[in-house]
């Protein structure tokens, strides 16, 4: 494996562990939400790292590639097979785009809920909100 890829996976591990730590251990509501954001970021980084190919082409940038490349006129273009061998693997990128959007929407719902809970209890501490006596 390429060293940069290994580094990306290690960083993703740090992000995921830090996020889980924040979700499970932290007392502040916003810290928990920040932790959820970090978990999402770390998973995205793992997915992107899977698709990486060292020194490869960017699959979305088309000038490298033409389906019917003719050497005389389009000498700088590649045929599809050649392009597919050189480019990085684009499937995880599509997954990550979806996941970023889902993560942002979940995050906004959680933030809205924490505002509502703050207005009720006048605190952001999980201990105080969830251990408070229930009044009917």
């Amino acid at each position: 494996m390429e060293p940069f890829q290994t580094g990306a996976f290690l960083t993703a591990g740090v992000l995921i562990v830090a996020g889980f730590w924040a979700i499970i251990m932290m007392d502040n509501l916003l810290k928990k939400v920040i932790g959820a954001n970090f978990v999402g970021d770390g998973v995205n980084l793992v997915l992107i790292g899977i698709g990486y190919k060292p020194g490869g082409l960017i699959p979305e940038v088309t000038p490298h590639f033409h389906a019917s490349a003719i050497p005389s006129t389009f000498s700088h273009f590649l045929a599809f097979n050649e392009f597919a061998e050189l480019a990085s693997y684009p499937l995880p990128f599509a997954l990550v785009l979806t996941n970023i959007v889902i993560g942002a929407s979940t995050l906004s719902v959680m933030l809205a809920l924490s505002v509502v809970l703050y207005h009720k209890y006048q605190t952001l501490s999980v201990q105080k909100i969830f251990e408070a006596m229930e009044e009917d």
Partner: protein
Amino acid sequence: MLDKIYEIFHDRMIHKGKGVGVGSGFTSEFLMISFFLIAGILVLRTANSILFALGSILILAAILFTVPSVFRVEKENTDSINLTSFYVAISIVTILIVFFAGSGVLI
């Protein structure tokens, strides 16, 4: 012995209002103890190792000494987010250990 248990249950149940009687406390206690017995028998029967068997007998004895175990279960299952987080962490670790050790990767 039985009077004492009845009194323990009565004292604990009295503040929960009319809805919960001593009978449901006894039913759930019976369910808990039979669950631990069943789990012990299962482990004894399926695991062939002496260590497992001894360990399960010890845990069983320890549980049978703390008879009103229902209240403990109830205390551990409140709406609190912290206790749930704790059990989630424990379960994640348990699942990882079981899968890795059971497939012979760790040991």
